[in-house]
Symmetry: C2
Subunit: 205 residues, 2 copies
DNA sequence: TGGTGTGAACCGATTCACAGCA
DNA sequence: TGCTGTGAATCGGTTCACACCA
């Protein structure tokens, strides 16, 4: 059986969001080229991606917004809800807690951790902040799958170790240094300064 | 003449940072495989990347830390300093202003803009906050090249338009919706919820 | 021997070109 | 006709295999 490519998954997530917005606007049909414009891709790419999930479109017409969204969601998200644990409630952590893209029923920030005594047990945007000491126990209890590192780089490895011990299988790391984890844990680094330089190089061509 | 690949540029930035750290620890030699471990790549990949910049290594020995760093920096950054303008000084904006990865002499946050009157003219981490009305004029004056969108999605397009008018050639967009800009302006979207889902899908395989 | 440098093979992803259909 | 669907060609990037050298 053919396996889905990671890039197709990423774009499918963009398609899903675009389709949600279109549904809100009562658009019930959409063509591959329009979807491509919205998501910054090409029409062929959109059709190739969608073709992986089956023959969903109607020749001469396009795709039915609702149907396409359902097909993609069923395949990619399989009515899973992703449970997230956040470490570090500084400015970045707070920004993440308030991030509007998370106000969906598919992602749930289940717990936040900080070691500052004065932040602990407060709530930000409905998410309670716990002391780090309780993190391993709590993460296991709520069955979180993904962890976010939003602590200063000095503490990032320490937090990564806690995440591994808690059984988290995926980590987003915002600290500007790499953390080491077992091979079965997937880490995605988001490094603002690398992103900036990368864009700068792009503009220099 | 052969042209450098974008992926090589991105990795070169990681190499440069790794080399800086090694220099601080007085390590004057480094092998491709060790550099690969630090940056999360493979030894062949490291050598291929570096080979683009010339024959820098010493067979049987490895690379001279300082020399390699200089070669990469000269090629990639060409003693340019990247000047950045930030829009939106909420939690995310503040996190960016305080980001330690920017405490380098190669990136300079030159101005921040916000429309909240009570934030204006304050300073965060040495960067002054100006009212948005002055942004076009100020960005031209300080010759910023890259802009960061850290405002709520409702205002992201408006801010993108300002950036285009100010002559910025690259944009990092943290708002969870795409902005439209002329083809000659390069936009990189950083979308937390897509990143989360993407990692989640990875862990599901 | 233990490292670098690199052409060739490979692999994944994108684009092309066009068949097929309401 | 104007869209989707898709095999074939192409492109870019990674890995292999090995020549080379202090």
């Amino acid at each position: 059986m053919k396996t889905i490519s990671p890039k197709t998954i990423d774009r499918a997530l963009l398609y899903i969001r675009a389709l949600e917005n279109l549904l809100k606007k009562k658009r019930d049909k959409i063509s591959s080229s329009e979807l491509a414009d919205i998501t910054g891709s090409s029409d062929v790419q959109v059709r190739k991606d969608i073709s992986f999930f089956g023959k969903v479109g109607i020749p001469r017409i396009g795709y039915e917004t609702k149907k396409l969204k359902d097909v993609l969601e069923n395949f990619i998200l399989q009515d899973n809800i992703v449970h997230i644990a956040l470490f570090g409630v500084g400015n970045l952590g707070k920004a993440i807690l308030k991030y509007p893209g998370f106000q969906t029923d598919k992602i749930k920030l289940v717990a936040a951790f900080d070691k500052a005594k004065n932040k602990v047990l407060k709530e930000v945007n409905g998410v309670k902040i716990y002391p780090v000491e309780q993190s391993v126990r709590l993460i296991k209890k709520v069955h979180a799958e993904i962890g976010i590192i939003a602590v200063p780089s000095e503490n990032s490895q320490e937090v990564a170790d806690i995440m591994v011990n808690s059984g988290l299988k995926g980590i987003v790391n915002f600290a500007p240094n790499r953390v080491s984890v077992p091979k079965n844990v997937y880490v995605k680094d988001i490094d603002f300064s690398i992103e900036i330089f990368s864009i700068f190089s792009h503009t220099q061509l």
